[in-house]
C-alpha cells in the first residue's frame, strides 16, 4: 500500500451468508479507494451503494450512540461507524469484517439478537419506582449517586461485549454483561424499590457467578464501560442482599428531601 494518500486502493473482506441460498459463510473481497477520514461504515456504504447492494448490515446514527453497527473487525468487536478504516488495514491493505460471533446469522453482517434481548427483559430493565410517590417535584439524588452509575448509564446495547463473552459463547442462559450492567444501574439507583428482589434473581446459577472475569467485555466495549467491575459489585451486594434492602428503605425515607 502506498502512503501518498489520494488514490490508495484497499480491500475490505466481508463475510457473506444468506441462509436462504448458501450452505455456509464465505469471504468476499471488495476493492475501494481509501479517502481521508473513511470509516469502516463509510466503506461498507460505498460497497453497498456502488458495487453490491446485497451486502447487508445494520446502521443508523453513524456516531456511536444508537448501537446498531457492532461487528467483528479483524477479530475484535467494535462499532464500525466510529472506526477509521485506515487504522484497521493489515500490512497487505486488507480489513476483514465479520458479524458479531456466537450469534445466529440472519444475513451477512446482521445477527439474530433474540437471546440478547431476552436477557435484557429478564432483568426487568425498567425502574421500579419507590412507594413514596412524589408527584410535583423530582426525587433528590446526589451527584455521587449519579456518578456511581455512570458506568452503566451510557450503555447503548450494541452487543459488542455480549458477543465477546466466552461464557455466552458456551451458554446462552447466562444473563450476560449487557443485562447485568443494566441490572447494576437499577440496583444502585437510590430510587429503585426492589434491589433485593433483583439481587436474588442475579444470584442464581445464570447470574453474577457465571462471569469468569476474563475481561473480554471491557476490551470490547466501544463506550469504555466496565461490565466486569459492575458484575463484581453486584456479587458483593448479593452477599449482603438483606442489608442492601434495608439501606434502600432507609434512603428512600429522605428521597424527596434536599441532599444536605
Amino acid at each position: 500500500m502506498s502512503d501518498n494518500g489520494k488514490h490508495t486502493n484497499v480491500i475490505v473482506r466481508i463475510q457473506r451468508f444468506n441462509p436462504d441460498n448458501d450452505q455456509k459463510p464465505r469471504m468476499q473481497d471488495f476493492q475501494i479507494e481509501l479517502k481521508p477520514g473513511t470509516t469502516i461504515l463509510d466503506a461498507l456504504q460505498e460497497i453497498k451503494t456502488h458495487q453490491d447492494g446485497s451486502v447487508t448490515y445494520r446502521k443508523s446514527c453513524r456516531h456511536a450512540i444508537c448501537g446498531s453497527c457492532a461487528m467483528n473487525v479483524n477479530g475484535k468487536n467494535e462499532l464500525v461507524c466510529k472506526t477509521p478504516l485506515r487504522e484497521r488495514l493489515d500490512k497487505n491493505g486488507v480489513c476483514t469484517v465479520r458479524p458479531l460471533p456466537y450469534l445466529p446469522i440472519i444475513k451477512d453482517l446482521v445477527v439474530d439478537r433474540t437471546a440478547f434481548w431476552e436477557q435484557y427483559l429478564r432483568v426487568k430493565p425498567w425502574l421500579a419506582p419507590p412507594p413514596t410517590v412524589q408527584t410535583d417535584r423530582e426525587y433528590r439524588v446526589s451527584q455521587e449517586e449519579v456518578a456511581a452509575i455512570r458506568n452503566a448509564e451510557t450503555c447503548i446495547m450494541c452487543g459488542a461485549c455480549y458477543s465477546a463473552c466466552q461464557v455466552i459463547a458456551l451458554n446462552k442462559k447466562y444473563i450476560g454483561p449487557h443485562a447485568l450492567l443494566k441490572a447494576f444501574l437499577r440496583v444502585l439507583d437510590p430510587r429503585d424499590a426492589i434491589p433485593g428482589e433483583r439481587l436474588a434473581d442475579l444470584d442464581g446459577s445464570d447470574g453474577v457467578y457465571r462471569c469468569h472475569t476474563i475481561f473480554n467485555c471491557i476490551d470490547a466495549c466501544p463506550k469504555g464501560l466496565n461490565p466486569t467491575e459492575a458484575i463484581e459489585t453486584l456479587r458483593k451486594l448479593a452477599q449482603r442482599r438483606l442489608k442492601v434492602e434495608e439501606e434502600r428503605l432507609e434512603r428512600q425515607k429522605t428521597i424527596t428531601e434536599p441532599i444536605a
Binding site: 441462509p19 427483559l121 412524589q134
Partner: protein, 598 residues
C-alpha cells in the same frame, strides 16, 4: 413474498422514538390492552437517542449568579427564593424563536406540560445530571432567556429514550422491531390501518387498527450535510402525503450551527450553552456583528446564517474555506469531561481533534424538520386547512406539525415536543378506543398494492443506481434550498427534484432477495425523499418572505401582511403539491408579533 396475513391490534403506533414510546406507554397505562409499536430499526436505535443537549422545562432549579451577565456562572436556586424562570417566559421565548409562526395555544400547552413530563421522566428512572442539592441540573440553551435545559451530561436523548422504552415494555406494549411501514390505509378520511414489511422475511402484511399514530421522526436526510441518522428519511410524511393527508410548513428546515466539518455529526448546542465560542479564520468572535446581545447563544437560524455569511465572504476555515472554528478550550478540561464527554469523543473520533487543546472545525448541518403532518393539540391529524379530522389517525414528534416550532425551533424544545405530544396522543387515543372506536372495513387488498410496488422495484434491470439519484437530490437541496434561498435557485431545485423523480422510476435495486433486504429499503427511502422534497421546494418558492429558518435573499424581510400563515400542501396527482394556507393561532393581546431581535 408469501406467507402474509392480516394482523389486527387496537392501536398501531409507527415509530419507537420518544413520541411513539410515550404514546404507547400512556395508551397502555390508560387501559388499552392491545397496543403495538412498529419500528424499522430496533426501538432503542431510534434517533431520539442521539439527542445530546437537554429537554426544556421551567423547573427553576438553577439561576445565573447575580451580576454576572448572560454568560456568567449558574447556581442552584436557594429554597424560598423568587423563581427566575416561568412557564410564561418559556412560552414567550418559543413564540419569538418561532418567528411568530408557532401556534400559541399549542406552545402554551407544551410549556405547561413540560414541567410534568420532565418530573415524570425522573420518576420513571431517567438518570439526569444533578445540582448539589440533588435536583435535576439545568444549563443554558440558545434563544431561551433562562437556563431551562434539563440534561444528563451530553447524552440526554439516550437516557430519555431508554427510560421511555423500558416503561413501555413494563406496561406490556408489543413491539414489532425491524418492521417497515410502507403505506397508510385511509378511505373516506377514516384511517383503517397500515401496510408493513417484515424486514427479516420480506413478507408484506396488512395491519388493521382502530387508531394509528405516526411518530416516524424527521426528514433531514434530504440534505447532504446532516446531523440526522440514516433512518431519518421522512417516511411518515411521504406516506401520509401519498395517502392524501396534507403536509404543513415543510419549507422550514433547521440548519444547526455546529455540525462536525464534512461529517455533519452534531456537536451539541450545549457546547455554546456551557460557554463555547465561534471563531472565523481571523479568530474573531464574529457573532458580535450579528447578535451582539446573545452572541453564540442566539437562535440557530440566526447563528447558521451568520456562519454561512462568514464562509461566503471568505472568512471560513479549513482548505476549502467551508468551516468555522468552535472553541471550547477556555472551558477547561474538568468541565469538558463532566459536561461534554460525548462531543469530545466525537471530535476526537471524527476530525481527530481534542477540544480540550484545539479548535474544532464545524459547519452548519441540516438538523431538524419543523414541518410535517398537521395535527390539533391532541395529535389528531387534520385533513385540510379548515381542521377537519382524519378519523383514527394521529401524529406526534418530529414527523408532526402541531405547530410549536413555527419557522424555527429552539434547542431542547423537540425532545420536549416529542414527549409532551406523544403523551397527549396516548391519552387521546385511549379515549378514542375506549369510547367505542371500531375496526373499520377495508375496501380491496391494500397489501397487494405494496407487493406490486416492491415487485416492480425489484424487477427493474439496468437503470441508474439509487444512491446516485439520492446524492443528486441532496446536493440540489443543499445548494438550492438550503440556508439561503432565492427564486432562481429554488426554480433550479424544483426542476432537479422533478427530473430526479422521473429518473428514479427506472432506478435499479441490486439485491433481489426477500430476506433482510436493506437495498430495497434504501430505494423506498430514496423514493420518500424525492416525494416530500417537492413539497419543501414548492413551499419555499411560493413563500416570498424571510421568516425563521426560511431565508430568501430576494425577499429578506418578514412579511406579516401576506405570510403570517401556515403552508398546507396536498398531493395533486403528478402535478406536484396543491398549496393552501391556514391561519396562525395567535393571542393578539398577549403575544402580538414583534420584530425578532437578539
Amino acid at each position: 413474498m408469501s406467507n402474509t396475513t392480516t394482523i389486527i391490534h387496537d392501536v398501531i403506533i409507527v415509530g419507537a422514538g420518544l413520541a411513539g414510546s410515550w404514546a404507547a406507554m400512556v395508551a397502555a397505562q390508560q387501559g388499552v390492552k392491545d397496543v403495538a409499536v412498529l419500528s424499522k430499526i430496533h426501538p432503542l436505535r431510534s434517533h431520539s437517542g442521539a439527542a445530546q443537549g437537554g429537554i426544556a422545562a421551567a423547573l427553576n432549579n438553577v439561576r445565573p449568579v447575580a451580576g454576572t451577565g448572560p454568560r456568567g456562572p449558574l447556581e442552584q436556586v436557594p429554597p424560598g427564593a423568587e423563581p427566575a424562570d416561568s412557564i410564561d417566559l418559556h412560552v414567550f421565548d418559543t413564540i419569538k424563536g418561532s418567528d411568530w409562526l408557532g401556534d400559541q395555544t399549542a406552545i402554551e400547552i407544551m410549556c405547561r406540560d413540560a414541567v410534568d413530563v420532565v418530573y415524570e421522566y425522573e420518576r420513571l428512572g431517567c438518570v439526569f445530571s444533578r445540582t448539589q442539592d440533588g435536583r435535576i441540573a439545568q444549563r443554558r440553551f440558545g434563544g431561551h432567556s433562562a437556563p431551562r435545559a434539563n440534561f444528563a451530561a451530553d447524552w440526554t436523548g439516550h437516557v430519555l429514550l431508554h427510560t421511555a422504552h423500558e416503561q413501555a415494555l413494563r406496561h406490556g406494549v408489543k413491539f414489532y422491531s425491524e418492521w417497515y411501514c410502507l403505506d397508510l390505509i385511509i378511505e373516506d378520511t377514516i384511517c383503517r390501518g397500515v401496510v408493513a414489511l417484515d424486514v427479516l422475511t420480506g413478507a408484506i402484511h396488512t395491519m388493521r387498527a382502530k387508531a394509528v399514530l405516526f411518530g416516524t421522526g424527521g426528514y433531514g436526510r434530504a440534505f447532504k450535510i446532516t446531523s440526522n441518522a440514516f433512518a431519518n428519511t421522512g417516511d411518515g410524511v411521504a406516506i401520509a402525503y401519498n395517502a392524501g393527508v396534507p403536509l404543513m410548513d415543510m419549507e422550514f428546515v433547521q440548519f444547526h450551527p455546529t455540525g462536525l466539518y464534512k461529517h455533519g455529526i452534531l456537536m451539541s448546542e450545549a457546547c455554546r450553552g456551557e460557554g463555547g465560542y465561534l471563531l472565523n479564520a481571523q479568530q474573531e468572535r464574529f457573532m458580535e456583528k450579528y447578535a451582539p446581545d446573545k452572541m453564540e447563544l442566539a437562535p440557530r437560524d440566526l447563528v447558521s446564517r451568520s456562519e454561512q455569511r462568514e464562509i461566503d465572504e471568505g472568512r471560513g476555515v479549513e482548505a476549502d474555506g467551508q468551516g468555522i472554528w468552535l472553541d471550547l478550550r477556555h472551558l477547561g478540561r474538568e468541565k469538558i469531561l463532566a459536561r461534554l464527554p460525548q462531543v469530545r469523543e466525537l471530535a476526537i473520533d471524527f476530525v481527530g481533534v481534542d477540544p480540550i487543546d484545539d479548535l474544532v472545525p464545524i459547519q452548519p448541518t441540516a438538523h431538524y424538520s419543523m414541518g410535517g403532518i398537521p395535527t390539533d393539540v391532541d395529535c389528531q391529524v387534520i385533513a385540510d386547512a379548515s381542521g377537519a379530522p382524519v378519523v383514527g389517525f394521529y401524529a406526534a414528534g418530529e414527523a408532526a406539525c402541531v405547530s410549536v416550532h413555527g419557522a424555527n425551533r429552539l434547542g431542547t424544545n423537540s425532545l420536549l415536543e416529542a414527549s409532551v405530544f406523544g403523551r397527549r396522543a396516548g391519552f387521546a387515543i385511549a379515549e378514542f378506543v375506549k369510547g367505542g372506536a371500531k375496526l373499520q372495513p377495508l375496501g380491496g387488498d391494500p397489501a397487494a398494492r405494496q407487493r406490486q410496488r416492491v415487485r416492480e422495484m425489484l424487477g427493474r434491470e439496468g437503470g441508474e443506481l439509487v444512491e446516485d439519484i439520492a446524492q443528486e437530490l441532496k446536493t440540489t437541496m443543499t445548494n438550492n434550498c438550503g440556508i439561503f434561498r432565492d427564486e432562481a435557485r429554488l426554480r433550479q431545485a424544483w426542476e432537479d427534484v422533478r427530473a430526479l423523480q422521473a429518473r428514479f422510476r427506472t432506478a435499479r435495486v441490486m439485491d433481489k432477495s426477500s430476506r433482510f433486504n436493506t437495498d430495497l429499503l434504501a430505494a423506498i427511502e430514496a423514493e420518500h425523499l424525492l416525494t416530500f422534497s417537492e413539497v419543501i421546494v414548492a413551499g419555499a418558492l411560493t413563500r416570498t418572505e424571510s421568516r425563521g429558518a426560511h431565508s430568501r435573499t430576494d425577499f429578506p424581510k418578514r412579511d406579516d401582511k401576506n405570510w403570517l400563515k401556515h403552508t398546507v400542501a396536498h398531493k395533486n396527482g403528478a402535478d406536484g403539491p396543491q398549496l393552501s394556507y391556514k391561519d396562525v393561532d395567535i393571542d393578539w393581546q398577549k403575544y402580538p408579533p414583534q420584530e425578532r431581535k437578539y
